[in-house]
C-alpha cells in the first residue's frame, strides 16, 4: 500500500496541479505548460516524427494557443487520446484543450458539457472505392460492404444515409485507420468511408492512388474544431480568438515571414489592432498586447498552416474548398478584431 503511494509521490512532478475547473488560464500560466489533447496519430492532423516532435494541422492550434498564453509555442504537452477517451480527458481536466479533429455536434456541445470554440476544418464524410468497381455515385452502393471506424460520428451518418436512401449495406467495423486501409486494400470492403480529408490522405499513401476514386457525395457535415470545457468562458475566448487571429492574419495578408515588418510599417488599422500596435486587445482576455502576434508567429497564419500540413503541396494534397477564406468563396470568416 505504502509503496503505491510512494510512486505517486515520485510522479508528483507530473501531477497537474489540480483541475481548478473555473480558471484554466491561471492553471496553464502557473504550470507553464499547455496540455493539449490530440489524436494518437492521424496523417496531416497530428503525428509525432522520429524524434517525437508532434506536427500537424491540429497541433498548430495547440501551438498558437501556447504561444499567445505562454509566449512559447513549444510549451505544450501533447496527450494522445482515443476516440473514446477524448471527451472524458477534457471534462475531467486532464487536458486544457482538445484539438483532436472532433466534430462539433449538438449533443457534444450541450449534453457532454463541452464548448466548441471554432471550426478549424470543415470536413464531410465521403466514400472511396476502387476504380475498377465501376461505381460513380454513393447511390450505387446498395448492398455493398463498407469499412467504417467504430465509435465515431461517421458510423451514425452512414446508418442514416443508407436508411434515408432506402439502401442496405454490410458494415465492416474497424478499430483504427491502419486496419481500415489494410482491409480496403485487400478488397475486404467495397468502399471505405471516413472524413473526406482522411480519405484523401489514405488514398495518397497507396502504391497506386490513381486506381481509387473518392465519390462525389459528401453525406454529412463534419465541422472539426478545438473544444474546451463548458463554464470557463475566458479560456474559451482565448482559444477562440487565438484561432481567429490565425484566420484574420491570412485575410489581411499577415504571414509569419512579414509579420515583424508589418508591426512597424502596416497602416491597416485592423492589422495594427490585431498585432497589438495600437489597441490593447490582449488585456480584455487577460493576455498581453502581442498575444496574437505570437500566435501567428508560432506556425504561420491559417493559410500557411493549411499549406504546410495538408495543402496541395503536401502528399495529402487537399484543396482549400470550404476552408478557403470567405473572400475566396470559403467559410473561414474571422469576426472583426475590435
Amino acid at each position: 500500500m505504502k509503496k503505491s503511494l510512494f510512486l505517486g509521490s515520485v510522479a508528483a512532478v507530473t501531477l497537474s496541479a489540480g483541475v481548478g475547473m473555473a480558471d484554466t488560464l491561471a492553471d496553464v500560466k502557473a504550470r507553464g505548460e499547455l496540455i493539449c489533447g490530440v489524436n494518437t496519430g492521424l496523417v496531416g492532423f497530428a503525428a509525432p516524427d522520429a524524434n517525437g516532435n508532434w506536427a500537424g494541422f491540429d497541433i498548430a492550434v495547440c501551438k498558437a494557443v501556447a504561444a499567445s498564453v505562454l509566449g512559447d509555442p513549444s510549451k505544450v504537452k501533447y496527450v494522445p487520446t482515443t476516440g473514446q477517451t477524448r471527451f472524458t480527458a477534457l471534462s475531467s481536466g486532464e487536458v486544457d484543450l482538445l484539438a483532436r479533429n472532433s466534430t462539433w455536434t449538438f449533443s457534444r456541445d450541450t449534453d457532454l458539457k463541452l464548448d466548441f470554440v471554432a471550426v478549424n476544418y470543415y470536413d464531410g464524410q465521403g466514400f472511396m472505392v476502387p476504380k475498377d468497381l465501376g461505381v460513380t455515385s454513393a447511390k450505387e452502393l446498395d448492398g455493398a460492404t463498407i469499412c467504417i471506424q467504430t465509435g465515431t460520428t461517421t458510423e451514425l451518418n452512414l446508418a442514416d444515409y443508407f436508411k434515408a436512401n432506402n439502401m442496405s449495406y454490410q458494415p465492416v467495423n474497424i478499430d483504427s485507420n491502419a486496419e481500415g486501409e489494410q482491409q480496403y486494400m485487400a478488397g475486404a470492403c467495397d468502399a471505405y468511408t471516413t472524413d473526406a480529408s482522411g480519405l484523401a490522405a489514405t488514398r495518397a499513401a497507396f502504391a497506386n492512388p490513381e486506381n481509387h476514386v473518392i465519390l462525389p457525395e459528401i453525406i454529412s457535415k463534419e465541422p472539426l474544431g478545438p473544444a474546451v470545457r463548458q463554464g470557463d468562458d475566458l479560456w474559451a475566448d482565448i482559444v477562440r480568438w487565438s484561432f481567429y487571429a490565425l484566420v484574420a492574419a491570412e485575410e489581411y495578408g499577415v504571414t509569419s515571414k512579414n509579420i515583424d515588418e508589418l508591426v512597424k510599417s502596416s497602416q491597416n488599422p485592423e492589422v495594427q489592432r490585431l498585432l497589438g500596435v495600437t489597441d490593447d486587445l490582449g488585456a480584455m482576455i487577460g493576455l498581453d498586447k502581442e498575444w496574437a502576434k505570437r500566435a501567428i508567429q508560432a506556425s504561420g497564419n491559417y493559410g500557411e498552416i493549411f499549406a504546410a500540413n495538408i495543402g496541395e503541396q503536401t502528399p495529402i494534397g487537399l484543396a482549400r474548398g470550404l476552408n478557403a477564406q470567405w473572400t475566396q468563396g470559403g467559410l473561414m470568416y474571422a469576426p472583426p478584431f475590435r
Binding site: 473514446q84 471527451f87 448492398g143 465515431t152 449495406y169 467495423n173 475486404a188 467495397d190
Partner: protein, 418 residues
C-alpha cells in the same frame, strides 16, 4: 467465540478488546469493516461531487434511446432504430457466441495438441512444442491482428467468384464461399415450414428448431436408459449387450425423420450485386477472433492436458493392461478420470480467460459487449460511468456463471474420498 474451558470469566475491561484473544479478532474485524465502509463512502461521495461539478447525473435512461448505429453480425434482429439496450444485448450475445465457440474448439485443440506433444513422433512433437511456445509467449492482441490480416490478405474478394471462369470457386459441393469479408455458408430452407414461436421483442424461434432440440434431448435420455439397461444386463449375466447401434439409432433416426418431415434443404449462397446473399455470411471478424482465441487458449490447455496426463502414475495404465482392459477403455476408465482431476481446475480459469479475452474483439471490429455497450454506445451517449459499470457487472455475472457451472462439473469428477 466463548471458550468453554476458561476457568472463570473475568469481568470485561476495555483493553481486553486488544489484549484478549477472544475479542481481538472481533475488534480487528470491526476496524476493517469500518475502514472498508469509509472507503466505499469516500468513493461514492467523490463520485457524487464530481458528477455534480460536471453537471451530469447517474441515469440509465440512455439505454432506452435510439442507438442509431448498425452492427454487422446480429444473432437477434436489430436495426439502427433499436435502443441502446438492444444493442447491448446483441453485443452480449455476440460475446457469448464467440466464447462458447472458442471454449469448445480450444478444448478439442488443446487435448489434441497436449496428447501430440507426448507423441513419439519427433517432428510432430517438436512442431506442437513450437506452436505452444509461439502462442503462449506472444500477446493475444498480436495474434488476433495477424490472423485477421491473414484472412484479409489470403482470401479472395467476392468478386473473384464472378464471371465465366472465376478465379475462385465455392467449396463443399458449391455450398461454402470463402471471402475476405465473411465465410458464406448455406442457409436452411424448409418446404413444410411449421412457423415460429414468437418470444416477444422480435425474437422468434422456429418450431422446427424446437422439434430438433426435443428429439435430441429425448434421444439423450433414451441413450442413458439403454446404457443403464446394458449395465444391469451385464451385472446379471456377465455379458454386455452390444448397444452402440441402438444408441446411434436413438440419437440419429428421429432427426432424420424430422429432416424428411420438414423438407429441410440447404440454400447455397449466391453472388448478387456486391455480396453473397441467400445464405448466412459469417463475418471474418468473428472467424478470426474465434480462431485466435482458440489457438491462444488451446496452447494453454495443451500444457494443462499434458501435465494432467503426466501426473497419472504409469503404474495405473500398466495395472489396467494387466487387468486385460483394451487401450481405449484404459484411457476412458483409468487414465482420463484421474487426469481430469488435475485438468479441470486450471481449465476453468482458461475458460474464464477466454471469455474475458474475447473483449479484445474491438481490435477486429467484432461487436461484442465491449464494442457495443462499452464502445459505440458509450461514445455516442457520453455515459461512461453507467456504461462501464454495467459492462463490468455483466462480465462479472458471466464469469460467476461459468465458474459455478464448471465447479459443479468439477465436484462430479473429483475423486470421492471415503
Amino acid at each position: 467465540m466463548t471458550d468453554v474451558s476458561a476457568p472463570a470469566n473475568p469481568p470485561f475491561r476495555l483493553n481486553m478488546l486488544i489484549y484478549d484473544r477472544r475479542y481481538r479478532s472481533m475488534t480487528f474485524q470491526v476496524i476493517v469493516f469500518i475502514l472498508v465502509m469509509a472507503l466505499g463512502w469516500w468513493l461514492i461521495n467523490n463520485t457524487i461531487q464530481n458528477l455534480r461539478a460536471l453537471g451530469k447525473d447517474f441515469d440509465f435512461g440512455f439505454l432506452f434511446q435510439r442507438a442509431g448505429y448498425d452492427i454487422p453480425q446480429t444473432p437477434i434482429p436489430y436495426t439502427s432504430d433499436d435502443t441502446h439496450l438492444r444493442a447491448a444485448i446483441v453485443g452480449l450475445l455476440n460475446t457469448i457466441i464467440v466464447s462458447v465457440l472458442g471454449c469448445v474448439a480450444a478444448t478439442i485443440l488443446g487435448v489434441g495438441v497436449g496428447v501430440a506433444r507426448l507423441s513419439n513422433n519427433w517432428l510432430f512433437a517438436r512442431l506442437m512444442t513450437i506452436y505452444v511456445e509461439m502462442f503462449r509467449n506472444i500477446p493475444l492482441l498480436l495474434w488476433i491482428l495477424i490472423i485477421y490480416a491473414l484472412f484479409t490478405e489470403i482470401m479472395p474478394a467476392p468478386n473473384a467468384y464472378r464471371g465465366e471462369n472465376p478465379a475462385w470457386s465455392k467449396i463443399l459441393f458449391d455450398n461454402v464461399a470463402l471471402t475476405n469479408r465473411y465465410t458464406a455458408i448455406p442457409g436452411l430452407g424448409m418446404t413444410n415450414d411449421p412457423g415460429s414461436l414468437d418470444l416477444g421483442a422480435r425474437v422468434t424461434i422456429s418450431w422446427a428448431t424446437i422439434a430438433f432440440a426435443a428429439a435430441l434431448i429425448a434421444g439423450w435420455f433414451l441413450r442413458r436408459a439403454i446404457l443403464a439397461w446394458a449395465q444391469v444386463t451385464q451385472d446379471r449375466t456377465g455379458r454386455r449387450p452390444t448397444t452402440w447401434w441402438i444408441n446411434l439409432g436413438v440419437m440419429v433416426v428421429p432427426s432424420l425423420l424430422l429432416i424428411w418431415f420438414f423438407g429441410l434443404h440447404l440454400l447455397p449462397p449466391e453472388l448478387k450485386g456486391f455480396n453473397f446473399t441467400g445464405g448466412l455470411n459469417v463475418q471474418n471478424a468473428l472467424v478470426a477472433l474465434w480462431l485466435a482465441l482458440t489457438l491462444y487458449t488451446g496452447a494453454f490447455i495443451a500444457e494443462i492436458v499434458r501435465a494432467g496426463i503426466l501426473a497419472v502414475n504409469k503404474g495405473q495404465s500398466e495395472a489396467a493392461f494387466a487387468l486385460g482392459l483394451r487401450p481405449n477403455r484404459t484411457m476412458n476408465l483409468v487414465i482420463l478420470p484421474q487426469a481430469l482431476r488435475v485438468i479441470i481446475p486450471p481449465l476453468i480459469s482458461q475458460y474464464l480467460n477466454l471469455m474475458k479475452n474475447s473483449s479484445l474483439a474491438i481490435a477486429v471490429g467484432y461487436m461484442d459487449l465491449r464494442g457495443t455497450l462499452g464502445g459505440t454506445t458509450l461514445n455516442q451517449t457520453g455515459r461512461e460511468l453507467e456504461s462501464i459499470l454495467l459492462m463490468m457487472l455483466i462480465y462479472l455475472l458471466l464469469s460467476l456463471i461459468i465458474s459455478a457451472g464448471m465447479n459443479v462439473f468439477n465436484s462430479r469428477v473429483k475423486l470421492k474420498e471415503r
